[in-house]
């Protein structure tokens, strides 16, 4: 009999023996096994960018930390998802985000329903040691139904990806670089004048913070729904 290559991998995550398909990432396998690794830029159904660095994990014997969301499983690998060092890095990353933009929760329509706020609570980020950067970003209320407040944006690019990959409109993109990066609609037009936006609201629903919200909500009222993504992905897979 010919030697057949195994497509099933066995590995350890936080000491737990787990089995996985070779096409799975560390993040997927961890989730299947009830091990929760914090994420922010990753969203099921969208392409992977590995940008937020929250999901970094240690692999025993590897020199560098690796993002769980973009790293595929390997036979025999030993993954550590929650060491003290990782927790500290994650707290600092959230802390840096809070220092970067306007994340004053009390006056935000997403208060209580914000992924950034949840992460901060969960990871124990209770104060910010860095000075606020106060970047010069825009608030745009020109759209009929929605508002963009780029000061609350954490540049996760979920809106960019959902609009491009799922809706097919590619209204959003990132403009500028480094600390001057900001999201723009089309070629930096007011959102309300966008010739490409179909007003589907997908970006609003995938946005983890109060950067993209519906008009007319008061503080704490904006609840995001991302279920549509899983549903659309599933249906598209079935059609294929």
């Amino acid at each position: 009999m010919a030697v057949v290559r195994s497509r099933i991998k066995t590995l350890k995550i936080d000491g737990q023996d787990v089995g996985a398909h070779e096409d799975e990432t560390i993040l997927e396998v961890a989730r299947e096994n009830g091990i929760m690794i914090p994420t922010l830029c990753q969203l099921d159904g969208l392409s992977l960018v590995g940008a937020c660095r929250l999901c970094l994990v240690e692999v025993v014997g590897w020199r560098n930390l690796v993002p769980a969301c973009t790293t595929y499983v390997e036979e025999g690998m030993e993954v550590i998802t929650n060491s003290e060092r990782l927790q500290k890095y994650r707290r600092m990353i959230i802390e840096l985000l809070f220092a970067e933009g306007n994340h004053v929760c009390a006056v935000c329509v997403s208060n209580g329903n914000c992924e950034l706020q949840w992460k901060a609570q969960k990871l124990g980020m209770d104060h910010v040691r860095f000075t606020n950067q106060n970047p010069d970003r825009r608030v745009d209320m020109t759209h009929e139904h929605f508002v963009v407040d780029a000061n609350r944006c954490i540049l996760c690019t979920r809106c960019v990806r959902v609009c491009d990959e799922i809706e097919g409109a590619h209204t959003w993109d990132i403009f500028g670089r480094g600390e001057n990066s900001t999201i723009i609609s089309d070629f930096n037009l007011p959102w309300g004048e966008s010739p490409t936006c179909s007003s589907c609201g997908k970006c609003v629903n995938v946005c983890p913070t109060g950067a993209l919200v519906e008009k007319g909500k008061a503080a704490g009222e904006m609840i995001k729904r991302t279920e549509f993504l899983a549903y659309l992905t599933k249906m598209r897979e079935v059609k294929k």
């Binding site: 937020c52 990353i93 840096l96 000075t131 670089r177 600390e179």
Partner: protein
């Protein structure tokens, strides 16, 4: 100068190469004298093109066109003394030549050298160098393929295509010990094997000529002075890994390099050296130049690929590495200009010849750009393993005005500062890393004891901050915070706890950033803190905000 049309030659075979070389040499020999003037960036910025025009005009005015050839050549290295002019066959070099010196230079052909302009050739700057990459720089006309061929050019490509299998070529490169010159020092042979093994009909070769480090101009000089060498290296690589298409990604700030590359590619295509059926074999290879818009991060290989594809130039997580999944998803070999520039000589002279130069793990030579507080600023090529002391004090001529050496910064924004106690350390990839610095692409900035190391660290942090692509959080926001903290230290307003925060941020960035830019951004801070900690401490205020007891009288 050589007329452009005479460069429309055809070389289908070894005989043709030899004939072209012979004809080119014969043409040279028709002249009694060759006045070579550097027309690379360093000298052009000191008006060498005006001097060249004046030389040509003066030769015509004296009716010497049949005897004296005026020829633009590439960089001769000692840019600080530019514009440089060499009169062959005697090899006398004149420095700081102006248009007014032109008549005297022509008089000298009869009356003997112009003493006041002579740049002696027996100084360590010239004697201690060993030239492989720069062997033709300053000698041949970069706009003439015939001169490249006369200097032995394209023989290696011909040899590879007609006498060697692709795996034999890779074998020679592997055994030579050549490592990537773009900074990381990854073994070239290993990368070539990986791309060769990748299964795909379509593969690409990319030459990384983005050269974004502040003060670096090694790659630029090679491209401006000897562009065919890079083309030859890429074609050999294409044959070895099974690619038929190459891209050279050059920053748009190098218009002269771009112009010469385009011309060289055209000449090679006319000659049958690029295009379908290279040297009448079955191997096809085409090269295109792509311009970058000068973002430092576009030198990072995945960002560079995104940029060639017409997307925003931001890095993506690796793996997959370009060797596996590169340009348009195809296996792609990406090497630096200097790496490719070493390939033809290695194929021509064999791997043993190359492996004998340098140290155990770092073979061959390295080109460095000397800058800062040093007498001989310019471009040098030295064998790996030479000591920093030799580079700074012998070749570089030491510091000007009797100043005292403090440190040399290598590796640009990703590197660190090497203090005096390591001056006798051999320069290679490993030892630089051991002392907390980095080979980088070859920038060397010498600093005297008046430089503030905190300010040096802040300068490089500012560079990384403004060049961050902004994709990942720790780099985008962390470089900003580190810069602000460094500014506070410089201003004498930082406390010990803020210094601790700076250290914590450095650790975060080194471990969590997506690409090398962010990961290496803290290096200048870490290294200056390691060797010059006092300079940080003496500027601190105590945690309540009042200044510490002044340390010493400064």
């Amino acid at each position: 100068m050589v007329k452009k049309t005479s460069q429309r030659i055809s070389v289908a075979s070894l005989d043709d190469l030899v004939n072209v070389a012979g004809a080119s040499q014969e043409q040279e020999q028709q002249y009694r004298y060759h006045i070579c003037i550097c027309v690379a960036a360093g000298c052009i910025s000191q008006n060498s093109d005006a001097v060249r025009d004046a030389l040509i005009a003066e030769v015509e005015a004296r009716g010497l066109e049949d005897e004296v050839q005026v020829k633009g050549v590439g960089c001769m290295g000692l840019c600080a003394a530019g514009p440089l002019v060499r009169v062959d066959p005697d090899g006398i070099v004149y420095q700081s030549v102006t248009v007014d010196d032109v008549p005297a230079i022509l008089d000298s052909l009869e009356n003997g050298p112009v003493e006041k302009l002579i740049l002696p050739q027996d100084i360590p700057f010239f004697e201690r160098q060993q030239k492989i990459v720069l062997e033709n720089c300053g000698i041949i006309d970069p706009e003439a393929i015939t001169e490249y061929i006369a200097a032995g050019g394209y023989l290696a490509l011909h040899k590879a295509l007609t006498e060697m299998t692709p795996s034999e070529v890779i074998d020679v490169v592997t055994r030579s010990g050549l490592r990537g010159r773009g900074g990381g020092g990854y073994p070239a042979g290993l990368k070539w094997v990986t791309v060769a093994k990748a299964e795909s009909e379509t593969k690409y070769v990319i030459c990384n000529a983005d050269e974004g480090d502040p003060g670096a101009f090694m790659d630029r000089s090679v491209l401006e002075s000897d562009p065919h060498r890079v083309i030859e290296g890429m074609a050999i690589a294409g044959y070895a890994v099974g690619a038929n298409k190459g891209y050279i990604y050059v920053r748009a700030e190098y218009p002269l390099a771009v112009e010469r590359l385009e011309l060289a590619i055209k000449q090679a295509r006319w000659a049958g050296i690029l295009g379908n059926g290279v040297f009448s074999t079955t191997f096809d290879f085409a090269i295109e130049v792509r311009l970058g818009a000068g973002a430092f991060v576009c030198g990072e290989e995945t960002a560079l690929i995104a940029s060639i594809e017409g997307r925003r130039g931001v890095p993506r997580p690796r793996p997959p590495y370009p060797a596996d999944y590169g340009l348009w998803g195809q296996p792609t070999l990406i090497n630096n200009v200097e790496t490719f520039a070493n390939v033809a000589p290695i194929i021509r002279n064999g791997s043993d010849w190359f492996a004998e130069i340098g140290t155990e793990k770092s073979k061959g030579t390295k080109v460095f750009a000397l800058a800062g507080q040093i007498v001989n600023t310019g471009l040098i090529e030295v064998p790996m393993g030479i000591t920093l002391r030799e580079i700074v004090f012998d070749i570089g001529g030491g510091l000007p005005d009797g100043r005292n050496y403090k440190a040399v910064q290598t590796g640009g924004p990703s590197g660190g500062c090497v203090p005096e106690q390591f001056l006798d350390m051999p320069v290679d990839y490993e030892s630089l890393r051991e002392v907390g610095s980095f080979m980088g692409s070859g920038g060397m900035i010498v600093m005297d004891d008046s430089s503030s190391m905190v300010e040096v660290a802040r300068y490089f942090m500012e560079f990384s901050m403004t060049e961050s692509c902004g994709k990942c959080i720790p780099c985008r926001t962390g470089t900003r915070q580190m810069y602000d903290l460094l500014s506070k230290v410089v201003a004498g307003e930082a406390s010990q706890s803020e210094l601790n925060l700076l250290v914590e941020l450095g650790d975060l960035l080194q471990n969590t950033c997506l690409c090398g830019l962010g990961k290496a951004a803290p290096n200048p801070v870490v290294s200056t803190m390691q060797y010059f900690e006092d300079e940080y401490l003496e500027r601190l205020v105590d945690d309540n905000g009042s200044a510490d007891e002044p340390a010493g009288e400064s």
